[in-house]
């Protein structure tokens, strides 16, 4: 620990930054591939279904087309996010085909539909070679060619004369249509669909729920062209929406399909149709408007949704084919429902929730201090006591809420292990090494955010083991080991931490070689006395790790500084143990979650800092004369032991501190080491959420992060391991 801090500092700034950039790119590509693969898998399955419907001459299920559209859309969004323009463009053109298909602009028999399969095939090929810059030009050509073919297959039909003028629609509604919505309206008229206005009134405070329910019901049988809000009968509290709907159903059937109390449906006639406006009220009086409206055919009503085709007055044959598709549709709905008790949640939303919890904690702290102030006022003492009691209950519930949110964020390591196993399978194919993986503890859970940050370092360590630690089969035979090597990856929980061990049965790390190389690089002097552990820890020095030779001869070193930095950023640590000839174990210890911690707030001059309370052993109030000098350091007699003191003002180069008179010493402990940190003031304890600091400077020496305190703005959180380590190093150097 001590050695790594001291020697690491100077070169640490430059090297990892470069490495970070290209590894970020690689990481981004990997992320893209794994997500894109998922989308493509889904698309492939859906396209098979689409192909089946096509060859069987069944009318295309719009939901299926929607689903493929969404996949293409997700892929486009994903590609955009990762800056992969070619893939994005191709996905966009797939959307064109699917859009046309859905609007009936493109017939299912069209050769354009075949191009969907070609696109998926091309995507698959692109993903495989995404990392190969040599193929970039070829990809660009392939994409351009396919896009050209799609473009020629998806020609827009010439626009017809304006059909909108003849619609029996309120001009104010027509006026509020954007050009795009007008285009959709024309499109639907051209297809001969019925147009209807669905009016419904909602309470303003909760309109979205009701409206989305209504829209969803409409979308089952048609399309919402526009959604026009207007004041309800009680304008302060209500809002009415007029939905312009295009559907194959006549108004009465739409009304019965919707089955939503209070929604009125009226057919919008065209100039060619009768002048009269037919109005069907789906009233709340009947309670079950479906029965009422479906009266014309009792059997129809008994069966699932009234057939759309019948309303459109088509011939019997087409009715049959419709009802044939109707059943699988409902079956699909049911199956959707059964899997919907798990929800995929964007981790950022959970972060927001977590932030909210953090903010609530800040408010709770504020209430507590108000209660404390009130209790000194005799007249308010009783209320203060009640406030304190209520605040305690609030605190309990907050803790439960916090635990609940944290629990949602927990994911098992299984997925990470599966990724590792895939990588190793590929390595095994490429290299002549027979290595088997042995995973244990895949069910161990960690915060999703930590898991994501963990993938890279873990991958690194496993690759190191594979590439460098495991000897060739011949060497293994010579050493009397089984030819087949094994890498064990084991995860388990220890207290509030999760430990992940990567153990190999390879050649181990030769300390003498590590030392020799460190000396040749000027990272240690030949006179330095290092313990076995300290020598081994040299592999974490960035200067050392950039050299290829050590990794080849001794089995470790490539990017171990990066691994260490990544884990430190998560509040974790990494340790290495190795026995020459027997193998190496890399243990990574991580906090289970980035939870709320208790912190001590200290002050120096006008600055405030937070110190995680779990590293604070005690605080002392010192008179100036209690501080003694010993050579260039200050010490304190703490119950007979000499405690090294460090001044926070010097550590952080802060001016305006009190240098004599009273000082507070915050006794920090980490591992076996103790340091007394001198500060001007103590400002009490607070619950804090430590957050990482965004910005160009990635590592700030001595700062672990920052936290927001209600009344004091942003307060920096001190990295205790740095202060303690720095202090020990100085002592050793002395």
């Amino acid at each position: 620990m001590a050695a790594r801090r001291s020697k690491a500092k100077a070169p640490a700034k430059k090297a990892p930054r470069r490495a970070a950039k290209s590894s970020a790119r690689r990481k981004a590509n990997r992320e893209f591939v794994s997500e894109a693969e998922e989308i493509l898998d889904r698309m492939r399955e859906d396209l098979v279904d689409l192909g089946d419907q096509r060859t069987n001459g069944i009318e295309v299920d719009p939901d299926l087309v929607n689903q493929i559209f969404r996949s293409a859309h997700s892929l486009k969004g994903l590609a955009g996010m990762f800056g992969l323009d070619g893939i994005g463009k191709l996905a966009h053109h797939m959307e064109d085909i699917l859009d046309g298909l859905r609007l009936g602009r493109i017939a299912i028999e069209s050769p354009a539909v075949d191009l969907l399969d070609s696109a998926v095939a091309l995507f698959t090929a692109l993903l495989v070679d995404i990392e190969d810059p040599a193929l970039e030009e070829k990809h660009t050509r392939d994409i351009a060619e396919l896009i050209r073919r799609i473009d020629s297959a998806v020609e827009e039909p010439a626009p017809a004369a304006d059909e909108l003028a003849g619609l029996a629609l309120d001009p104010s509604l027509l006026r509020a249509l954007t050009e795009y919505e007008e285009h959709r309206l024309r499109e639907n008229i051209r297809r001969g669909r019925h147009l209807a206005l669905v009016d419904s009134t909602f309470e303003i405070i909760a309109f979205e729920e009701g409206l989305s329910e209504l829209s969803a019901a409409i979308r089952e049988v048609g399309e919402v062209v526009s959604t026009l809000p207007s004041p309800g009968d009680a304008p302060e509290s209500q809002i009415r929406f007029s939905l312009l709907v295009a559907t194959d159903m006549a108004a009465d059937q739409l009304s019965s399909h919707l089955d939503i109390a209070g929604a009125s449906v009226r057919e919008v006639r065209r100039a060619s149709q009768a002048e009269a406006v037919e109005s069907v009220e789906s009233t709340s009086v009947s309670g079950r408007p479906r029965d009422q409206a479906s009266r014309p055919s009792a059997t129809e009503a008994a069966a699932s949704p009234p057939s759309a085709a019948q309303a459109a007055g088509r011939e019997a044959a087409s009715v049959d084919s419709r009802s044939a598709t109707a059943r699988p549709e409902t079956a699909e709905l049911e199956s959707l429902r059964s899997i919907s008790d798990t929800v995929r949640v964007d981790i950022r939303k959970l972060d927001e929730l977590m932030n909210l919890v953090g903010e609530l904690v800040i408010h709770r702290n504020a209430i507590e201090s108000i209660a404390a102030r009130l209790s000194t006022d005799a007249s308010a003492a009783r209320l203060a006591a009640e406030l304190t009691k209520t605040n305690k209950q609030l605190d309990r519930k907050l803790k439960e809420l916090q635990a609940g949110v944290l629990d949602v964020r927990m994911v098992p390591l299984r997925q990470v292990f599966e990724k590792l196993s895939r990588v190793v399978r590929r390595l095994r194919r490429d290299q002549d090494k027979n290595v088997s993986m042995d995973f244990r503890g895949a069910d161990t859970e960690l915060d999703k955010l930590i898991v994501e940050q963990l993938v890279d370092p873990l991958m690194h360590v496993v690759r190191n083991a594979f590439d460098h630690a495991i000897e060739s089969p011949a060497d293994r035979r010579a050493a009397g080991k089984p030819e087949d090597a094994t890498i064990f990856v084991q995860a388990f929980q220890r207290g509030n931490h999760v430990v992940i061990e990567v153990r190999d049965d390879g050649g181990g790390i030769d300390r003498a070689k590590v030392r020799a190389i460190a000396e040749s690089q000027g990272l240690v002097s030949p006179d330095d006395e290092l313990t076995e552990r300290e020598t081994l820890d040299l592999i974490f020095l960035p200067g050392l790790s950039t050299r290829g030779e050590i990794s080849e001869t001794s089995g470790r070193g490539v990017g171990m500084d990066v691994v260490r930095a990544n884990l430190a950023a998560l509040g974790g640590m990494v340790e290495v143990n190795s026995v020459v000839g027997r193998g190496t174990t890399v243990s990574m210890t991580l906090p289970i979650t980035l939870a709320i911690i208790q912190a001590l707030i200290v002050g120096v001059a006008e600055h405030r800092f937070a110190i995680p309370l779990n590293s604070v052993l005690e605080t002392l109030l010192l008179e100036g004369h209690e501080i003694q000098r010993s050579e260039d350091r200050e010490i304190l007699n703490l119950r007979g032991d000499a405690l090294t003191l460090r001044r926070l003002s010097e550590e952080f180069e802060l001016s305006g501190t009190r240098n004599d008179g009273k000082q507070y010493a915050v006794v920090l402990g980490m591992g076996e080491q103790r340091v007394g940190l001198l500060v001007d003031d103590l400002h009490g304890q607070q619950d804090t959420v430590i957050k990482s600091i965004n910005g160009p400077i990635r590592e700030i020496a001595g700062i672990a992060g920052a936290t927001e305190l209600g009344d004091q703005g942003v307060v920096l959180v001190i990295d205790v391991s740095y202060i303690v380590g720095e202090s020990t190093r100085r002592m050793e150097a002395a």
Partner: protein
């Protein structure tokens, strides 16, 4: 308020299709020719950065100084739960620093990875759509190297700031 979810995130068909069609209808062909820039001022001179690097624009708030940082990092601010470093663009470009005014703003930039950074400027102007033809190389290499292009806008040169260069960490 501004963070609240919108229907577009729910990905319903209509909004997806609408968004797709809008891009196709009036975006696609012009996208290659037009660049969107957010323009702002240092003293009275106009500068601009690509709009896609801008996450948001916020008023100046209390900046907590951070020890041992290069002088061009003013400190950190809290931004809806995130802690963000603020870079003084004036100092970064070698222009003497000055105190903030009512017009001063922090432009929050997307950096690489998921990181964001605040950039202090004297005033924010507008979003410009500038034709590719209007750009020219800055030719002169300035000390910071952060202005690599100029564009002409209403007879005035707008300096295009290379965001990555501004955020790049050099040994100070």
């Amino acid at each position: 308020m501004s963070e609240a979810g919108s229907a577009s995130e729910n990905g319903d068909w209509e909004s997806l299709a609408r968004a797709a069609s809008l891009r196709g209808a009036d975006g696609e062909d012009q996208v290659d020719l037009l660049r969107e820039l957010l323009s702002f001022r240092l003293d009275e001179s106009p500068y601009a950065i690509p709009v896609e690097r801008v996450r948001e624009i916020v008023r100046v708030r209390k900046i907590t100084s951070v020890p041992k940082m290069p002088s061009w990092v003013l400190g950190v601010v809290a931004l809806r739960g995130e802690i963000v470093q603020v870079v003084d663009l004036r100092m970064r470009l070698g222009i003497p620093s000055k105190s903030t005014s009512r017009q001063s703003r922090i432009i929050v930039l997307h950096g690489d990875d998921d990181r964001i950074t605040g950039m202090l400027v004297d005033a924010v102007d507008q979003v410009l759509r500038v034709n590719e033809d209007a750009f020219q190389n800055a030719e002169v290499s300035t000390e910071s190297g952060a202005v690599n292009e100029l564009c002409v806008r209403e007879g005035e040169f707008v300096s295009i700031v290379d965001v990555d260069r501004v955020l790049e960490l050099r040994a100070d």
